[in-house]
């Protein structure tokens, strides 16, 4: 099973990390990523650039509205993710606990849907369609 480890930081935590020696952060994260690679569980990871560089496309009105800057009201900014392939929920938690993050940071663990998750509803044509869309976009 695959889990996405979603990294969220408060603006304060982000600010605090900017005060730290970047080389040190790089080394800590590097060692963590290394451990994931060596264990054969890492299938993907990306860090996202500063939220101020972000763009938000809002679909509230008829035409999507595009604004520059970080995503709205949230106090916890989405700054990066890992995708790991593990054999259990607990294994995902164990790996998450080892991530070198500090106060103000959180990891949200989300299991990636698998084909089998829809097994009970295979016969429903709408479920089938939704599933095809989903799988198609994931493969995209």
């Amino acid at each position: 099973m695959k889990y996405m480890l979603i990294m969220r930081d408060t603006p304060e935590a982000l600010e605090a990390s900017k005060q730290r020696d970047f080389e040190e952060i790089l080394n800590e994260m590097g060692a963590y990523n290394d451990a994931l690679v060596k264990a054969g569980v890492l299938v993907g990871a990306e860090g996202l650039s500063d939220p101020s560089e972000g763009i938000v496309v809002d679909f509230d009105s008829e035409e999507p509205i595009v604004t520059d800057g970080p995503y709205g009201e949230t106090h916890e900014l989405f700054n990066g993710f890992w995708m790991i392939q593990v054999s259990s929920r607990e294994e995902a938690i164990e790996w998450a606990k080892r991530c070198p993050l500090g106060p103000g940071s959180k990891l949200e663990l989300r299991r990636v849907n698998e084909w089998e998750d829809f097994a009970e509803h295979q016969d429903n044509e709408y479920v089938q369609k939704a599933q095809e869309r989903k799988t198609g976009s994931a493969a995209g």
Binding site: A39, G40, S87, S88, W95, W115, A138, G140
Partner: protein, 408 residues
């Protein structure tokens, strides 16, 4: 299973191989190392509910296992050399300093796949001490009874001890053969999961996923071996098709009929990346790398028709030179049928049909039936497909062949 048992399980999955590898280095005995580590896990189950999970669980397990070894040694009258080494080592290191050595894990893999062991024992022992799976899990994955797995592991440990297999990295001249054995085991685990040779389930994901994990671990341990990267690329590229390989009812969907939008593009990218790295080592591709290169051609083609079959024929020719086998020839024939037509391909099939290795296999009649059908020789085609269906060991595969015969 209680929460703490699941946590211990998860820690063991992550740390098991390194704990056993460290203990094997100090005791020189993989079997003993594994027993000691498991005793430590039993202690963890008893102590962690009240003490909490230690900050360095791998270090904790290693230290407890060492203490157990020394306790055992102290109870003995005569001084056993192995335990004496442990005692010295324990005095020199503390829990906090525990720093697993990557080479130890590599040695562990090499010992688990040692040529003195049968293929079955290599697979069982690798899943046990490198993948850190329980006997019950291994039995479930391999579809064999628990006592069978237990017997294979016990026998493997006894064989290693009897053959006095050292816990060392092999000499330069033996390296290729030993590494080849490891890759063979990982590939076998994957193929067993990819197209289950028996039973009704077409793909056994968990087993294939475990093989992939092992291949990634190996690529981390020996990053400069083209065949390790070649195997990793091959497994990633083949696994990328998992979602498309079974229909809603669990029935197999063959390559030509697969919905390619269901292929996992991220996984294809990882496979291609590994293949590129294998090539960049500048020593040419081996059998696994060549198979990965063939899988890559399929992975990047928008459809069967738009596949570069000429290139695939070329890759199969190269493959049949470095790793000649009737199955490779048969696959080459299928590629030739696409690149040059069924007549030429049929001539190739006839040349290999008498090969003893394929006697009784469903593969030859299955391909021959397909080619005859393309040539419009329907009666002969149906006969071949029915023979193939009769010989197929996988129920799902049999159903596909019967459906093909009926559709003619």
């Amino acid at each position: 299973m209680s929460d703490i048992a699941r946590t211990v399980d998860a820690v063991w999955r992550i740390e098991g191989a390194r704990v056993v590898a460290t203990l094997a280095r100090v005791t020189g005995d993989v079997g003993l190392a594994e027993d000691l580590a498991h005793d430590a896990v039993v202690d963890a189950l008893a102590q962690w509910p009240s003490s909490g999970v230690p900050a360095n669980p791998g270090g904790w397990l290693t230290t407890v296992a060492r203490r157990k070894a020394i306790d055992g040694w102290r109870r003995r009258e005569r001084l056993d050399e192995r335990y004496a080494a442990l005692a010295r080592d324990l005095e020199e290191t503390t829990e906090q300093e525990w720093e697993p050595i990557a080479d130890d894990v590599l040695r562990l893999v090499l010992v688990a796949c040692h040529p003195v062991l049968s293929r079955e024992s290599q697979v069982a022992l690798t899943l046990r001490i490198v993948s850190s799976l329980t006997t019950e899990e291994i039995a479930r994955l391999l579809l064999v009874p628990v006592p069978t797995v237990q017997a294979r592991i016990t026998r493997a440990k006894k064989t290693l001890a009897a053959a006095r297999v050292p816990f060392e990295t092999p000499e330069q001249d033996a390296w290729g053969e030993r590494l080849g054995a490891v890759l063979g085991v990982v590939y076998l685990v994957f193929t067993e999961g990819y197209a289950a040779t028996s039973g009704e389930r077409w793909i056994r994901h968990e087993l294939a996923d475990e093989a992939l994990r092992l291949a990634r671990v190996l690529a981390g341990l020996v990053p400069r071996e083209p065949e390790v990267l070649g195997l990793l690329a091959l497994l990633e590229l083949q696994a990328a098709r998992f979602a498309a390989r079974t229909g809603p009812g669990g029935e197999p969907v063959l390559l030509a009929d697969q919905d390619r939008s269901r292929w996992d593009r991220a996984q294809i990218r990882r496979g291609r990346d590994a293949l590129r790295r294998a090539g960049e080592l500048g020593r040419g591709l081996g059998p696994y790398g060549l198979q990965a290169a063939i899988a890559e051609q399929h992975a990047i083609a928008p459809s069967v028709e738009e596949t570069d079959w000429a290139r695939i024929v070329l890759l199969y020719e190269a493959l049949s030179r470095v790793a000649p086998s009737p199955v490779v020839e048969l696959n080459r024939a299928v590629a030739v049928s696409r690149a040059a037509g069924p007549q030429e391909a049929l001539a190739l099939v006839e040349r290999i049909a008498d090969d003893d290795a394929l006697a009784g296999s469903h593969l030859v009649p299955s391909v021959r039936g397909e080619l005859l059908a393309q040539l419009g020789r329907t009666g002969e085609a149906r006969k071949e497909l029915l023979v193939a269906a009769e010989r197929a060991r996988n129920g799902r595969e049999r159903a596909v062949l019967l459906a093909k015969a009926r559709a003619l």
